[in-house]
């Protein structure tokens, strides 16, 4: 088992080291790192903007690049949160707690250095986990029938919508909306147009690019316009030599790094708990086991190393269910899966055997990309710090152009640009009503496959709805769904005092307030 995995990995390196693939990977992590640094641009918006640009390149290159944007932006976000106290991306909210005090003490450079090291450690572990776990998962998943796939998707959707930010009920509502948007277009079996309002342009369904750019582009811009204050660049003067942590700092950060890595990789295995939750849980744990918990928040290097390591190990681990089961854990993964589907690749357990170049090439490119990131971040720190000062008023109009042209170029159809405006307005209204639009994308991507498998399961079982609890594996997934719901209700009705989730919720709220 191990030897086959290593042979496959070797093959993957062969794919990922092809010059054009290295180039796409480099472009991906470079752009990702850049937008991660820019205040006000998230990985979701960036991946959606870049998505139309990847239609022309081969699937392997496209996926390597989009994945690179994702983990590259996690690196960049750390710079933003440590030096400016701005958590541009939710996972970095806890990094601010100790990162910014360190910056004020003049140790911001060292914090960044530790961040680079812990990110690399975390990511390496996450990748290793993916190499060995994915093939095992695939062996199991290939035995799944439509009923099992259906229940697994239900579990994935439920976890993705209830464990994410905000109220679980609203998350579920958003997921259902996503599933409904996925229905728009011609029915796969009978060809009946559904929810198209008689508009022929909608017969092919809503384009994922239009949906993503509307929700994470236009709606986000409408929310952020004139809301972002001028950044305070008092502390951003960081030079290459500042990055070196002292021996003492390194000694304290090292164990924290490994604990963070472990927590992150565990969180990655639970569907729906992405990097954000991983970083909060690891920070809380670190604070708990520390001999001096009262010093957290005043600039403890452990408080930077631990969440960063766990973020990265969970970011890489998030790819496991996405690539091996075809079930994305969050909106970013849903977008990457959508990109695969646009390239004509069917996601699911058969992906590894049918497209080994994509799977193993992607894994190998993670190593390459992470090494590129270390190389990019250490000597070029001055450039990234300069980028922090680009004002939002230049950023969003340029992004608007990319939104328009990107949506247009998917089908060379002006109608889609109109579609993106409508989706943007609806998205902003949903944001105002406290709905987080990320689960919409999850539902949208899984929707058609969910319906297809549901219909097939019912056909095979001759209309017996109980088929989902009669098959043992499927029953297990359904049981997990029920457990998830019961847990949510329990936490609502009787909030446990010291449970980590509580801390998570409280810090999350504080952090999101700080972000706004």
């Amino acid at each position: 088992m191990i030897s086959t995995a290593l042979t496959d990995l070797w093959y993957g390196f062969g794919v990922a080291l092809e010059p054009h693939n290295v180039m796409w990977c480099f472009i991906g992590v470079f752009v990702g790192n850049m937008v991660g640094v820019l205040p006000g641009m998230g990985p979701l918006a960036t991946i959606s903007i870049l998505l139309p640009l990847t239609f022309g390149i081969k699937p392997v290159g496209a996926i390597l690049m989009l994945a690179g944007v994702f983990y590259g932006s996690q690196y960049g976000g750390a710079i933003c949160s440590i030096l400016l106290n701005l958590p541009c991306h939710p996972p970095h909210a806890v990094t601010c707690l100790d990162g910014f005090p360190l910056t004020k003490k003049g140790r911001g450079g060292a914090a960044l250095g530790i961040t680079v090291i812990s990110s690399f450690v975390g990511a390496s572990w996450g990748i290793t986990e993916m190499i060995f776990l994915s093939p095992i998962l695939v062996v199991v998943a290939l035995k799944f029938g439509p009923a099992e796939i259906c229940s697994l998707m239900l579990l994935g959707l439920l976890a993705g919508s209830t464990l994410a930010r905000g109220s679980p009920l609203k998350g579920v509502a958003m997921t259902v909306c996503g599933l409904l948007i996925g229905i728009v277009g011609s029915d796969i079996e009978t060809g009946t147009p559904r929810f198209t309002f008689g508009i022929p342009n909608l017969f092919d369904g809503v384009e994922i690019v239009a949906l993503a750019l509307g929700l994470f582009g236009i709606a986000e811009f409408m929310k952020s316009v004139n809301q972002l204050s001028e950044v305070d660049t008092k502390y951003t003067n960081v030079k290459l030599k500042d990055l070196r942590p002292t021996r003492e700092e390194f000694r304290r950060a090292l164990p924290a790094m490994f604990r963070g890595t472990l927590i992150g990789s565990l969180c990655a295995l639970i569907p729906g708990t992405g990097p954000t939750i991983a970083s909060f849980v690891s920070y809380a744990t670190e604070k708990k086991i520390s001999k001096t918990p009262e010093l957290f928040g005043t600039g403890m290097i452990e408080g930077v190393a631990c969440p960063e390591a766990s973020t990265h190990s969970s970011v890489q681990g998030d790819f496991i269910p996405t690539m091996s089961l075809g079930i994305p854990g969050d909106a970013v993964m849903a977008l990457i899966l959508g990109a695969l589907m646009i390239q004509g690749i069917v996601p699911g357990p058969q992906l590894i055997s049918e497209h080994p170049d994509i799977f193993w090439g992607l894994i190998a490119s993670f190593w390459i990309g992470n090494i590129i990131l270390v190389v990019l971040n250490v000597p070029m720190i001055g450039l990234w710090v300069k980028l922090l000062t680009i004002p939002y008023k230049y950023l969003y109009p340029s992004a608007m152009f990319f939104v328009c042209i990107g949506v247009y170029s998917t089908n060379n159809d002006m109608f889609q640009v109109g579609e993106v405006v409508i989706i943007g307005i609806v998205g902003y209204i949903l944001l105002l009503l406290d709905f987080h639009p990320a689960p919409v994308l999850l539902g949208f991507v899984l929707g058609p496959r969910f319906e297809e498998n549901f219909r097939r399961a019912m056909l095979i079982s001759r209309g017996d709805i109980l088929v989902f609890v009669k098959h043992p594996i499927s029953a297990f997934f359904i049981f997990m769904c029920v457990l998830l719901i019961v847990m949510q209700i329990y936490v609502r009705l009787r909030p446990p005092k010291v449970l980590a989730t509580n801390i998570v919720l409280a810090t999350d709220r504080k952090a999101s307030e700080a972000a706004e």
Binding site: L53, G56, S167, L169, K170, V172, A173, V176, C177, L179, L180, I183, D187, E189, T190, T192, R194, F195, I218, F221, M222, V225, N226, Q227, Y392, K393, Y394, Y396, P397, S398, M400, F401, F402, V403, C404, I405, Y408, S409, N412, M414, V417, G418, V420, V421, G424, I425, Y428, L432, L433, D434, F435, E451, F454, R455, M458, L459, R462, G463, D464, I465
Partner: protein, 156 residues
């Protein structure tokens, strides 16, 4: 009781979802439902519509039981009508000018109009920004990616 209810954000959130769910449930009846074994195109939307209605009612329920908090304004404190208008006008200019005059005017107008949404934006600054984005954007999309969108055209 009802007076405080209509001030709550969740009242509108839940109400919107309930209405949407009900509308979809009703609409999906128009497609053939089929049987459970051979599901028609209407069955899956019907199930989703019912779920959404239920979730909407539950959100409404939480609005009723939770006390009124002081942060229930749906619109943000500063209403950025100018920002919102400009951001939405950008793509609309892009559609109209793109359809009749080509990529360059479309790009320029889209960036220029969107940029005016910022409160500190000046006409000159926006014009320069728009010119820059147009130059590099056209270079990227017309020459490198070769999308079929003429740089200039007259009429449709």
């Amino acid at each position: 009781m009802f007076g405080t209810l209509v001030k709550k954000r969740d009242f509108y959130a839940g109400g919107l979802m309930t209405l949407l769910g009900a509308a979809i449930t009703l609409d999906s009846m128009a497609y053939s439902l089929g049987t459970l074994t051979h599901m028609g195109p209407g069955m899956f939307p019907l199930m989703l519509g019912l779920t959404l209605t239920l979730v909407g009612v539950l959100i409404l329920g939480t609005a009723v039981v939770t006390p009124l908090s002081n942060d229930e304004n749906i619109l943000p404190k500063n209403r950025e009508w100018r920002g919102w208008g400009c951001i939405l006008a950008g793509p609309i200019f892009f559609i109209i000018l793109g359809e009749y005059f080509g990529l360059v005017p479309a790009t320029y107008s889209c960036v220029f109009v969107s940029a005016l949404g910022d409160r500190t934006a000046t006409l000159k600054g926006s014009a320069v920004l728009a010119a820059g984005v147009t130059f590099f954007g056209v270079l990227l999309f017309s020459y490198v990616l070769k999308i079929p969108f003429p740089m200039f055209r007259l009429g449709h």
